[in-house]
């Protein structure tokens, strides 16, 4: 980054820009009540007043503008009205539409004036339909609000002597961008207005696909060179980090500003382009938490691109996350997605596959606790004569019960109207329908959490209780009830002598496969989810690796105590697809082989194989290449999604404090790698110190 960008980044890190923030959000409620506005009109009014309340901020060194000054999003209903409105209904998370993806490419290319024309044409055509008219009037109101905001920024730029910025804002987001610079500025405003409208987890979709035409034209015409383009891109990326503190999420940084690159085009040809590489280079250079990069790849993706991505992994930011087109696309088509749409998938806030502009999907209605299901299976199935099939039957039954309970809870799902977000979607303005009424895809997603622990528990029962008869059914259940207090020998046997997922062991992996098959069957059996969609099973755990073990207020999912894999009550469950925490595994190859055995055509809600690597493991160019090969191996083995984490200082410190949670943490010591937890304390300190120095 050059000095200008360092300066801009420094301001964000120092929170200097926050001094422009106003003390409070505008009051929108009073006028909504005074005019007795409908919900759709209130939503549009909110967008309008939020845009109007924005005070233009222009830094002399900026080339892409918009700094948010309104600190929060006000309510459009009083608490009493709100509880009346939502009585008997389920709200998803905090209520507003979230975690979907706009068709940014369409919105950019049509421009807001183009979208406005579409709205007005439809309004004329559907003049007899009051609901459509109301929706379209709201959509136009929100479009006009964003255009007015751009116009105020344009005036402010003119007054500040920034004719360059004024000229850009005179053109976008109203019209089709003429340059890459204009496209970035337009996207900045269009996306910011989604946040201002109260939505969250606002993803950026397939950035290298919809932005490439603008960049390519600039490069071809000689208006811009690669260095100039990367500088603009860096400024755009930095801007996405300004308001992390204002975005709702489980943790700060959990804000869903995902950005997907690579993969095939809707016609099936390779979509990788120069911008794909630029995004990786610039993300490496800016090294901030947003945007979160998702790289789509296939078994044939070239190693150069993966090496560049590996450089980014080495930074320890936790991305890119990899999705394998060869597996994801068939899974989506098997779940009713048109092939062209499936090929156009992007990744939502965490890992879920969604279609930009075409999905009003709720990809995380909850989680199935696979360990709880196995626990139920063991207790009910081992009651009579110890017989594995009965354990299977009861486990499958419990999975099905959990899926039904979640879907039932969402039977009364209430999605608030979203007129501005609808402007950015395919078909809403064309049909006069708000996106909350549904888009082309209206599926639900459910996480399948704790899968490795659950599979290990089944494998332990199969081997030690059924096959070898070394453990009695009643004894096992008593041990689980006692959280292994007084059953330590049995616990050791469960941990040490039963097969574990992550070792390419067919016994344990077979159980994993069964669990996901039962999960898929349970979801398939639901049929319609009540919104014209299906229920998609996934392999992620989100925060449920903690919640399902220890409970969480308001959680619908069951909590599980000690489990038959030897895991004590309250201990973390496996995160996403990873071996159980206390399971010893040989390494990444076996882990990939284990997880490649899942039938991913039936599992399409995403959830990555999650691995931690020490950043010292890939210090030189040769090792970077080998890590890139590991990523390619993931794709070639037919796994679905991969998250490689560089071990950072916090992990090492936690490993020192809680070694039992980090048995497989490998650190590079000399010309060799060792298990961190087996190193004597002073050597652990040495490794920590080294990481501390390398982090500096």
């Amino acid at each position: 980054m050059n000095e200008r960008l360092e300066h801009i980044k420094g301001r964000v890190r120092d929170r200097e820009h926050r001094r422009w923030r106003q003390p409070a959000a505008p009051d929108v409620l009073a006028e909504c009540e005074a005019q007795a506005l409908s919900w759709p009109r209130r939503a549009a009014r909110l967008t309008r007043r939020m845009c109007e309340a924005e005070i233009p901020v222009l830094y002399p060194d900026e080339r892409i503008v918009f700094t948010r000054t309104v600190p929060s999003v006000p309510s459009v209903y009083s608490p009493e009205e709100w509880s009346e409105l939502t009585a008997g209904c389920t709200l998803h998370e905090s209520g507003p539409i979230s975690n979907i993806c706009a068709d940014w490419g369409m919105a950019l290319s049509q421009g807001l004036l183009g979208r406005r024309r579409v709205a007005l044409e439809t309004r004329e055509r559907l003049a007899h339909d009051p609901l459509a008219v109301e929706f379209l009037d709201g959509a136009v109101e929100s479009i006009d609000a964003v255009l007015a905001l751009a116009a105020r920024y344009e005036r402010a730029a003119r007054e500040a002597g920034r004719d360059d910025i004024a000229a850009i804002l005179a053109h976008v987001p109203a019209h089709t961008p003429r340059t890459f610079h204009e496209a970035l500025q337009a996207l900045r405003l269009l996306q910011a207005a989604v946040w201002l409208s109260g939505h969250y987890h606002v993803g950026l979709g397939r950035f290298d696909q919809y932005m490439w035409p603008y960049l390519e034209a600039d490069l071809r015409a000689g208006r811009l060179d690669v260095a100039g383009a990367e500088e603009l891109l860096a400024e755009f990326f930095i801007a996405l980090n300004r308001d992390s503190d204002l975005y709702p999420g489980v943790q700060q940084g959990d804000n869903g500003q995902s950005l997907t690159i690579g993969g095939v085009k809707p016609d099936g040809s390779d979509g990788t382009n120069a911008l794909t590489h630029m995004v990786l280079r610039v993300a490496l250079d800016t090294a901030m938490i947003d945007p979160k990069i998702n790289l789509r790849l296939g078994p044939e993706t070239d190693l150069d691109l993966l090496q560049l991505a590996t450089e980014l992994t080495r930074k320890g930011l936790g991305f890119p996350q990899y999705s394998n087109d060869a597996v994801v696309i068939p899974a989506l088509t098997a779940h009713g997605y048109a092939l062209e749409d499936a090929r156009d998938y992007t990744v939502a806030a965490c890992w879920e596959f969604i279609i930009p502009g075409r999905g009003m999907e709720v990809v995380n209605i909850g989680a199935v606790s696979l360990p709880a299901a196995v626990d139920r299976g063991i207790r009910e199935g081992l009651g009579g004569g110890a017989d594995l099939d009965t354990v299977f039957t009861y486990t499958a039954k419990d999975i099905s019960r959990q899926v039904s309970a979640l879907v039932e809870a969402y039977g009364q799902l209430l999605l608030p109207p979203a007129p501005y977000y609808s402007v950015l979607m395919d078909g809403c303005l064309e049909q006069g329908r708000d996106l909350s009424q549904g888009l082309r895809y209206n599926n639900y997603g459910i996480h399948g959490a704790g899968s490795a622990d659950a599979a290990d528990a089944l494998a332990a029962v199969a081997k030690l209780v059924i096959e070898e008869r070394r453990v009695g059914a009643a004894e096992l259940i008593a041990a689980l009830d006692a959280d292994f207090q007084g059953y330590e020998t049995l616990q050791r046997m469960l941990v040490d002598e039963a097969p574990k997922v992550g070792n390419n062991d067919d016994e344990a992996d077979g159980m994993l496969g069964r669990l996901f098959d039962w999960f898929a069957e349970a979801c398939e059996a639901i049929g319609d989810n009540g919104r014209g969609g299906r229920v998609r099973p996934g392999t992620g755990s989100a925060m449920y690796y903690l919640w399902l073990a220890r409970g969480h207020e308001g959680m619908r999912e069951p909590v599980v105590g000690a489990t038959a894999d030897g895991r004590g009550s309250g201990e973390f469950l496996s995160a996403n697809l990873s071996p159980a925490q206390h399971a010893r595994v040989r390494g990444p190859i076996s882990v990939l082989q284990s997880f490649s055995k899942i039938d991913y055509t039936r599992i399409c809600n995403g959830g990555p194989i999650t691995m931690e690597l020490s950043d010292a493991v890939f210090r030189d160019a040769e090792s970077i290449r080998k890590v890139a090969m590991l990523v390619r191996t993931f794709a070639r083995l037919g796994c679905q999604q991969l998250q490689l984490n560089t071990v950072n200082l916090d992990t090492l410190l936690d490993a020192k404090k809680h070694p039992e949670r980090h048995k497989n943490l490998i650190v590079r010591v000399w010309g060799w790698s060792g298990y961190f937890c087996e190193l004597a304390p002073e050597y652990q300190d040495h490794v920590i110190a080294r990481h501390m120095y390398s982090a500096m």
Binding site: R586, I589, S590, Q593, S623, W670, S673, Y675, A680, H686
Partner: protein, 251 residues
């Protein structure tokens, strides 16, 4: 039936040879190098490693068939990634028969032997004949010094190095740089002389000593007693090799 005793199998061992490799660590070693970083590899007997993370038994018995089955299960992946299998230790040649029988059961996989050379000529010959590459440690050329720091004569090691040069298997000489012991200009010059014009030699790798060598002793219930000053700086001097026209690389 032949069995082997293995103290670890490590996947994605990216520093143990070309490409992505799986390394098999064979238990037992005739040398007692005071800088040894794998203390659990010294004794032939299984031993318990105790750490705050719990206990683990280092040392499991495998038949050649069992080990080959694990490795063959990864053969496609290792091959696809320009890698293969590395036999390390301990001193793998102490279990030469086990390696031979295992390698004979392997699918087409690149095999690397990582040896101290402290073994019988016959064992070196029969294993090296089945390898695609050998990593061969040369620590100290001076006989007395070698005895003092490793507890063994280097006669067989230097002799076997000569044998290796006649086998037609490419090899790399690896020199752990131990401060004041192996990294003296004199010793490096001696090694460079040995290496000059040696047939089949690809290069010399210099591996600088790291403070963490003694890290696993406590877990193995052993005491780390270096015969040198571990905090002294390492002399990674490549000049002696360059002077002799020997390719050299500092890892």
């Amino acid at each position: 039936m032949t069995t082997g005793i293995v103290f670890d199998i490590k996947e994605f061992a990216i520093h143990d040879g070309p490409g992505i490799r799986t390394t098999v660590f064979l238990k037992g070693c005739p040398l007692r190098c005071s800088w040894c970083h794998n203390p659990e590899g010294i004794s032939r007997e299984p031993q318990i490693m105790r750490s705050p993370a719990g206990e683990r038994l280092a040392g499991a018995r495998y038949t050649p068939g069992e080990l080959a089955a694990i490795l063959n299960g990864q053969a496609d992946i290792l091959r696809d990634n320009e890698g293969g299998v590395t036999f390390s230790g301990g001193e793998p040649l102490l279990q030469a028969q086990f390696i031979v029988e295992t390698v004979d059961l392997l699918d087409d996989i690149h095999v690397l032997l990582d040896t101290s050379g402290c073994a019988s000529e016959a064992d070196l010959r029969q294993v090296a004949a089945r390898c695609d590459l050998v990593y061969y440690d040369v620590k100290i050329v001076d006989a007395a010094l070698h005895r003092r720091h490793t507890g063994r004569d280097n006669g067989p090691i230097l002799y076997n190095l000569g044998v290796l040069g006649t086998l037609g298997v490419p090899y790399v000489i690896r020199v752990p740089l131990i401060p004041g012991v192996t990294d003296t200009d004199r010793n490096l010059a001696d090694i460079a002389t040995l290496a000059r014009g040696a047939p089949g030699l690809l290069r010399v790798d210099l591996l600088p000593y790291n403070q963490a060598a003694g890290a696993k002793y406590a877990a193995a219930g052993m005491t780390y007693a270096p015969t040198f000053d571990p905090s002294a700086p390492v002399n990674a001097n490549t000049r002696p090799f360059e002077r002799q026209g020997v390719a050299v690389h500092v890892a």
